[in-house]
Symmetry: C2
Subunit: 375 residues, 2 copies
DNA sequence: CTGAAAGCGCTTACAG
DNA sequence: CTGAAAGCGCTTACAG
């Protein structure tokens, strides 16, 4: 009876079902429908069954906006990350962007999985690098969610504080503020250990730092740690404006290409700000007939999954990327539930993964994939 | 005056602002506030200014749920993709997953950027591969959005139809139904051209197809196209159960490792279901002392960004990934606005990109990054 | 141009 | 255990 006039025009099927329709066909009040749908214990078996039958029959799904409005919970957390101009074009110029986002994607996946576990969904939004007022867009996003997770470089500290005064905010790979919590990997320790390996164990006498975004806290911390260790060893560090790879393979390749074409003497080892950059660097070095690691050692950061599937396999610093994302959600979720965070920043340990690109071994044995040395 | 009691406890700042607060401090009705906030033309300059001042002063942001409820538009589209068990562990066993998702991530980014252009946000959700009733989770998601974009393999056709009867649905790299629209790259044509290049131009006399997920329409179409061309040339195709790489680098490497350890004779060329797989294959072949492309030619599919930054640079089929995503959103957006789609499926052209891994050239010239031949 | 009021579709005290 | 009713915070005819 109530199906007749619907099936006719696809999703344009007249006024959508509401809880009133369900109540009517089940012969109960809307309160009862609501209660069984929300798994309350009160409705007795028979009521429950009648409601479920009606729900089934009508294919009813409660409206999320109405639920959110009356229960004061949207079950949505917003995630904002930064994107550098991205024009939906196929112009190779824009490719830097896409491959520098692998880390962000994996992080988001970690958030997403953790969110699912609590019945929350992710509202994903990116802000343009030179967007004048990201605050406006982010405010709107805040209106659609219960809390916000901000990747690095999307809002300045005062913007973060302002937002955090309105709703719970957690930042990722950024800096804590008095109102928000920051989740980050132990960049300093990871880079320190890697640098000691390069300069101590391998004894390289010159080193370069191929940087990521200059306003990325991760990048800054890594460079600083490398410089500190290099100073201990009295080894010069090549870095600066000519060494900016922007976290991308294309950027890493570009730096090497220019350095070589300018006749600059390359250091014995190059620490890249992330794995993508290292991939681009290895590629470009080989192009010019240089062997990695024999002529130049190269390392990455993050340990994204392709790092082990290239030759030479990349020596890098493994960050618990998904875990960082999951922890960001969990922390935010607690805050949404009214808990006040115990600390302003949570630092997760990282682990140096020794493969071939640093000069450690010719190549791992083909038969075992997990033979990396993690000391 | 109204700031005093707020700044004290972070986001727990008493009852949140509402449009009534703004109206009161501006000395106008809530209707006027609503009108200026929504950019209606009616309110006169003075009213507009008073409202804006109050909004600014209070840091007011309208509640998204309330807006959605009364305007019947959430400005949210849900995106659902499939994830194979993902436990937030660092167990290498689970790495296949992460790297097989690059394509999905780029697709999502295309959707996201297009959505932003229309003021929409993405509600991202993944479903487990062996989730019994993804329908439940997806229904709930549908309740939170105005339309849904489904990646391949998340819902069977009847599930898609059922969902599409309730709200607009667009699928990606999947199959059209009578109620939903599918957006897909021209897999058949791309693979056909690639196969002709391998078997015709290069004259390889044996070929393998290293497959992706067996229930992925893309994968099926690619294999079928390859077989058809191979048949024309009378060239045998190695494929099947021992050739399943599941779209990941780890999977591709695994297949090669087993084939070699079983003493199987490898074909002269291996077509991989996607780029990640090809990366794993190249890696593993080299491990065993085999040269690519001299001993075995290898090709990918998709042309993700790292494809050009590895050696040998990957010959592959470029899909307009972001464009596919953007088109999915645009199509969905039209449907949300009441347009009935003109066609059930939109196929976007793809382009074979000839680099080195097929045997075309030793290596491209270092100085130019865009010298791929696209014929 | 502006305001009072109805209504969007739910949840949840409050009675019974 | 169940229902009538209020209320969540907006938008938008409807009058004026």
């Amino acid at each position: 009876m109530q199906e007749g006039d619907e099936a006719q025009r696809g999703h344009k099927s007249g006024p959508p079902m509401t809880i009133y329709d369900v109540a009517r066909t089940a012969g109960v009040s809307i309160a009862s429908v609501s209660r069984v749908l929300n798994g309350h214990s009160s409705p007795r078996q028979e009521t429950r069954e009648r409601v479920m039958r009606a729900v089934e029959e009508l294919g009813f799904v409660p409206d999320g906006a109405a639920r959110a409005l009356s229960s004061r919970l949207k079950e949505v957390v917003a995630v904002v990350f930064r994107r550098t101009r991205f024009e939906l074009s196929t112009d190779p110029e824009f490719e830097d962007e896409a491959d520098s986002l692998v880390f962000v994607d994996v992080l988001n996946r970690g958030i997403e999985v953790a969110a699912q576990n609590q019945g929350f969904d992710l509202l994903l939004s990116s802000v343009e690098v030179n967007e004048h007022a990201p605050g406006g867009k982010i405010s709107k996003l805040a209106g659609k969610s219960d809390g916000v997770i901000l990747h690095d470089r999307v809002l300045n500290p005062s913007g973060v504080v302002r937002l955090a005064e309105r709703l719970p905010v957690v930042t990722l790979a950024s800096t804590p503020t008095r109102a928000s919590v920051n989740i980050v990997g132990d960049n300093a320790e990871g880079m320190r250990e890697l640098a000691h390996h390069l300069l101590g164990t391998h004894g390289y006498r010159s080193i370069g730092y191929l940087s990521g975004h200059s306003d990325s806290p991760d990048n800054l911390t890594r460079e600083k740690a490398l410089r500190a260790v290099a100073a201990e060893y009295g080894v010069p560090v090549s870095a600066g404006p000519r060494w900016t790879g922007e976290y991308s393979a294309a950027g890493g390749a570009r730096v090497i290409r220019r350095l070589i074409s300018d006749g600059v003497q390359l250091p014995q080892a190059i620490c890249c700000a992330n794995d993508q950059t290292a991939l681009g660097v290895v590629y470009e070095l080989r192009h010019h007939g240089l062997k990695v690691p024999d002529d130049v050692a190269v390392t990455g950061f993050d340990d994204v999954s392709i790092a082990r599937h290239v030759s030479p396999a990349l020596t890098t610093v493994r960050q618990p990327i998904e875990r960082l994302g999951a922890l960001a959600f969990e922390t935010l979720h607690d805050m949404i539930n009214g808990a006040r965070p115990a600390e302003r920043q949570i630092v997760l340990p990282v682990q140096v993964v020794y493969r071939s690109s640093c000069g450690c071994r010719p190549e791992p044995a083909p038969s075992s994939r997990r033979d990396e040395t993690m000391r």
